[in-house]
């Protein structure tokens, strides 16, 4: 057991507690965006995937580096973009939706004015 491991465990436990504390306050309406946001944060594994390349020097290492980087980049980029798209739709009032890239606008399915 090394001093580094002890530090790592301390950080891990404290981060867990911060996670519980920060998240238990989020209202139900935001649970889907929250799940998506949390999903994008674990895309940090991209950092780990990039660091594979530092020690990779054979075919197996290169394959692992490629697949891990592709998986992680998909997680992080897709996660943030989709969360942003969802949150863009939350509005307090009935203000008209700007013709942004909401799926309805993309599909030309917006019905226009309300009765």
């Amino acid at each position: 057991m090394t001093a580094e491991l002890l530090t790592d465990i301390t950080i891990f436990v404290l981060a867990l507690l911060v996670g519980f504390e920060v998240i238990s306050k989020v209202p139900a309406t935001l649970h889907t965006p929250l799940m998506s946001a949390a999903n994008s944060i674990h895309g940090i594994i991209l950092a780990g995937a990039m660091l594979i390349a530092v020690t990779a020097d054979n075919a197996l290492g290169y394959i692992l580096a490629f697949v891990a980087a592709a998986f992680a980049a998909m997680n992080v980029v897709g996660g943030y973009v989709v969360t942003g798209r969802m949150l863009k739709m939350f509005r307090r009032s009935r203000a008209p939706v700007p013709a942004a890239d909401t799926p309805a606008a993309v599909n030309g399915q917006r019905t226009g004015g309300r009765g």
Binding site: T2, L5, D8, I11, V13, A15, L16, V18, G19, V22, I23, K25, A28, L30, H31, T32, P33, M35, A37, A38, S40, I41, H42, I44, I45, A47, G48, A49, M50, L51, A53, A56, D57, L64, A65, F66, V67, A68, A69, A70, F71, M74, N75, V77, G78, G79, V81, V82, G84, L87, M89, F90, R92, R94, V97, A104, Q109, T111, R114, G115
Partner: protein, 469 residues
């Protein structure tokens, strides 16, 4: 420690602060977007810092650079394309898919490190072995489990609980092999054993999720999200990276809380998810199918019923979302409100496919927040409602949940059957994700309007306007 390492560690701390602040800002719809931006900023900082670390190491071969950058470009392209084109209704599948690749990447990071250390003369230190085992086990379970979950939601894989003779035994066997192999690895480092436990964990993920019905899938996705966070934190232990440990732990904690909230809302126990056979009950599916006749109604008649109702409760479900009819329902509601009716929406905690999913869809259609009522709030109001308009909701309205021995027993439902009359818009008598008949449809008070949600609502709007406008 060199100055360079000091700076990179401090930058990692800064990005961790961004993640915490980002999640904190998600406390309210007003600041949620900013929260996502702050979190994105933290991520960009962490990736840039890692890039600097990689360059500084100076040991990356030309091939290493090519595979790394090609991998990032391929993955980023796939992620960007799917995130921009996905329909809001298919969101849960996509989250599940991103979750799968995240878990897979976490496992691969540890695999690489372990193979490298096992080949070296120094051997694998114990402080690396244990997190490696945890990382590959959790990461592999998440990878296969999330893919099965996404497949079930997409309809590629049978959404009904799938069990076969000995499926529970296979599940337990996979767990025993995984844990036993892990214990062996602590005693004697072995790459072949690691491959065996990865295969066992992949099998465990499949046998864990297959017996779970689609209606319970949100809980599973949330649980797997927490798993990925934990796997990422373990990967952080393996390679000694604080950013991974902190971000992974944050997600592990958030996923656990969400899972608990969701499981509570559905009255399910988490223990049963892990054991398998979740939600299937311990008996054969109840035989008590629809005993009565189904009454079908035309759009004109339904429109008249709605037009003269004082209190209307709209129950939106997945069918509404799948038909992209959220704008039509908002238009119909506004029309009825103009005629003096009181209109509200009953939002089941898992309406749509995830908690809050229906809120996202209705927000897209500009429905004001105050009209969206949560289950506990709206259930006592059904008995005073003249009409309950159920649009493409199925399992969450099924009174069978109040009896024991059905696939959805114990699941909290909306008390739609208490309303004075009920109109159900649905394409067919097909089953919901739980795969059972809905007893609401044969209730004498119920009339069925068989049509796609969008065309039915368009017809209703036209009929209300012409007949009574």
């Amino acid at each position: 420690m060199t100055t360079f390492h000091w700076v990179t560690q401090l930058l990692y701390v800064a990005s961790a602060v961004c993640f915490v602040l980002g999640l904190h800002l998600m406390n309210s719809p007003a600041t949620a977007r900013r929260g996502n931006q702050v979190s994105t900023g933290g991520m960009a900082l962490a990736i840039a810092t890692t890039f600097a670390l990689v360059v500084h190491a100076g040991t990356v071969t030309a091939t290493g650079w090519i595979v790394m950058i090609a991998g990032i470009l391929v993955g980023a392209g796939a992620g960007l394309y799917s995130a921009r084109t996905v329909q809001m209704t298919a969101m849960p599948q996509l989250v599940s898919l991103f979750n799968a690749v995240g878990g897979g990447a976490a496992a691969l990071v540890a695999v690489h490190d372990y193979v490298r250390l096992a080949g070296a003369t120094t051997g694998v230190p114990e402080s690396t072995t244990i997190p490696t085992i945890l990382d590959v086990l959790i990461g592999a379970v998440t990878f296969s489990g999330s893919i099965i979950a996404a497949g079930k939601l997409q309809g590629v894989i049978n959404a009904a609980p799938v069990t076969f003779r000995g499926s529970r035994a296979a599940n337990i066997a996979a767990a025993v092999v995984g844990v036993g192999g892990g214990a062996y690895m602590i005693a004697a480092p072995s790459v072949p054993v690691m491959i065996i436990i990865i295969l066992a964990a992949l099998a465990f993920g499949v046998t864990m999720v297959m017996p779970i019905g689609g209606a319970d899938m949100p809980v599973v996705i949330s649980l797997l999200n927490a798993f990925t966070g934990t796997a990422v934190a373990m990967a952080g232990f393996v390679i000694g990276n604080w950013a991974l440990i902190i971000a992974g732990a944050l997600v592990g904690a958030s996923g656990s809380i969400l899972t608990k909230l969701m499981a509570d809302a559905m009255n399910r126990s988490l223990r049963n998810i892990m054991i398998g056979g979740f939600g299937t009950g311990d008996s054969t599916p109840a035989v008590a199918g629809p005993g009565g006749d189904v009454r079908s109604v035309a759009a004109d008649d339904a429109a008249i019923q709605l037009a003269y109702a004082q209190k209307i409760i709209i129950v939106p479900g997945y069918g509404l979302a799948a038909a992209q009819a959220q704008h039509q329902v908002a238009e119909l509601a506004a029309l009825l409100e103009e005629r003096g009716a009181e209109v509200s929406y009953a939002i089941h905690p898992v309406a749509g496919r995830m908690p809050g999913h229906m809120n996202v869809l209705l927000a897209e259609a500009n429905v004001p927040y105050p009209q969206l009522k949560e289950m506990e709030e709206i259930n006592p109001e059904f008995s005073r409602a003249d009409v309950a308009l159920v649009i493409g909701a199925n399992d969450v309205t099924n009174p069978a949940a109040r009896r024991v021995g059905t696939a959805i027993s114990g699941m909290p439902i909306l008390d739609v059957d208490q309303a004075k009359s009920i109109i159900v818009i649905k394409r067919s008598m097909g089953h919901g994700y739980a795969g059972i008949d809905n007893e609401l449809y044969v209730n004498p008070k119920t009339s069925m309007l068989f049509a796609d949600a969008k065309s039915a609502l368009t017809d209703l709007i036209a009929s209300v306007k012409t007949l009574v406008g």
